[in-house]
Amino acid sequence: MNKPLSDGAGSDISTWQAFCATLKRDLVIAFKRKNDLLNPIMFFLIVVSLFPLGISPDPVELSKVSAGVVWVSALLASMLSLDNLYRADYEDGSLEQLLLSPQPLYFLVLAKNIAHWLISGLPVVVLSPLLAYMLYLPSEAYWTLVLTLMIGTPVLSLFGSIGVALTVGLGSRGLILAVIVLPLSTPVLIIGAKAVTDVMFGLPVGSHFALLGAILALALTMAPLASAAALRISVN
Amino acid sequence: MPSLQFSSLAEFLQMGGVYTFHIWAVYLLFAIFIGYNLMQPRMARRHFIREQKRRASRDAELASKSRENINS
């Protein structure tokens, strides 16, 4: 049994390994529960197909709103699956182990956010052309839609992670999560949906991508720090 | 010195006739806003003091009762 009683100060390599291990763990957990993987996708599909029922089947009508509908549904889909980001770990105590790791919490939280995005954000991005087709989105806007969603959905996950971290210890989490996270994600929604509609009118969209990239950079640097601080508070 | 805009009270209340409701609605909301945010804290304070007084008297009562059965 006698292993060396070293003090084991953390080093960069082990930070990278902790990052990968946490990312791998979350993905393994997700893929072990296959049916949960479908939830964000099915939700996205259902919400998008509700809009034509609500608006009208007429192609001209739908193509005008298609960009906005796909974007709002993507926002709601990523919001829906946020809840199990920290919830399971909080309940079985793994979150405490995460907080007590010598590795910087920023990277561990970032790993969890990336895993969440891969599970709930990426399928939405991959599926969006199909749904856009269902809503008669003009063909030249497909690439813009996919690219804006590709940049936008990580921001939704990162900001959503702050909201979930703040409310992980609470009983009634659902409503508060929405009230906290949705206002924060309005800029991404506005710019993303606008980029797609502007492409339809043939307007240049360079500035839209610049803005989305800027918000993504802000989210990538700031959001995990806020989530880490929020987790420390919720778990104490 | 800026000149008085309205010749009579009636004209003042009309506020230019067309948007009378709009203007007075805004000022009514403004009055409610000022009134509520000044009154509510004072009411809450009065409620708090009444609450604390009741608790203080209850504690005093309990203390005196326990002292009685110690002496008796």
């Binding site: 508060i176 | 805009q5 709009h22 609605a25 805004v26 403004f30």
Partner: protein, 249 residues
């Protein structure tokens, strides 16, 4: 350093200080408010475009500008709570949230009513109104989070984080809403910014109204913070003495 700083910010010191300042603030508010209102209602000339509805500006602009200051103030109070763990800062942060919501709400209502004469509808997705609406949701988010968390300290720190994150996002939201809105309709033809083109007899009363509403904001904040102090220090001796001195109401 931390102990000295927390002594300075002790709730009791703030309570006694506010006892001295409140009467003067009330006087200042009364004077400024009455002068401002009378001037705005009676003496401001009719606007060639808007007619009498220019008088709504004297409520909307002061309230809207101060509502913009509430979120940063809450974020600063939150930072002080997080960094120096000062109880008084958290009490101020907790009191600012409802006041901010009230200010934003009134700014929203007065803006919509004022805009009605141009757009013909009670609600138009004008850039300023939309960013006020989203700011209102942010305030509701902070208040909801505050009431959801039972323990006082956890709620203080959680709301501080949300206030900081929110404060960072308010300008982004404001910018993206304006950017989203201006490209759709041409900028609305009358400008809500007061000082620029208007003659002095229009913006002088406005500055008076802005300072009046600002003094009111300080008074409302102090009143709510005092209640918060009494509530949290109800077990300490100085509050018990204070309660016993108060005549029973």
């Amino acid at each position: 350093m931390w102990l000295w700083f927390s002594k300075l910010g002790s709730p009791r010191w703030f309570y006694e200080l506010s006892n001295k300042w409140l009467p003067w603030l009330y006087v200042a508010m009364m004077v400024l408010m009455s002068v401002g209102l009378l001037w705005a209602l009676l003496f401001v000339p009719e606007d060639y475009q808007q007619g009498q509805t220019i008088r709504i500006m004297y409520v909307h602009v002061p309230v809207a500008s101060i509502s913009l200051a509430c979120f940063p103030l809450m974020a600063v109070a939150g930072t002080i709570t997080l960094v120096w763990k000062m109880k008084l800062a958290d009490m101020v942060a907790k009191s600012v949230a409802p006041i901010g919501a009230w200010f934003t709400g009134l700014a929203l209502a007065s803006g919509a009513i004022w805009g009605d004469q141009i757009w013909g509808t009670w609600w138009a997705w004008d850039a300023r109104l939309t960013s006020l609406l989203i700011q209102f949701f942010l305030f509701i988010g902070v208040i909801a989070l505050r009431s959801a968390i039972e323990s006082q300290d956890a709620a203080a720190k959680a709301c501080a984080i949300l206030a900081i994150v929110g404060a960072i996002n308010v300008p982004i939201i404001k910018y993206s809403v304006e950017w989203w809105n201006t490209l759709h309709q041409p900028a609305s033809d009358f400008s809500m910014d007061p000082v620029a083109p208007n003659p002095p007899e229009v913006w002088v009363p406005l500055l008076i109204m802005i300072s009046a509403v600002y003094v009111f904001f300080v008074i409302a904040l102090i009143l709510r913070t005092r209640n918060e102090i009494l509530q949290r220090e109800r077990r300490s001796q100085w509050v018990i003495d204070l309660v016993s001195r108060e005549k029973s109401v």
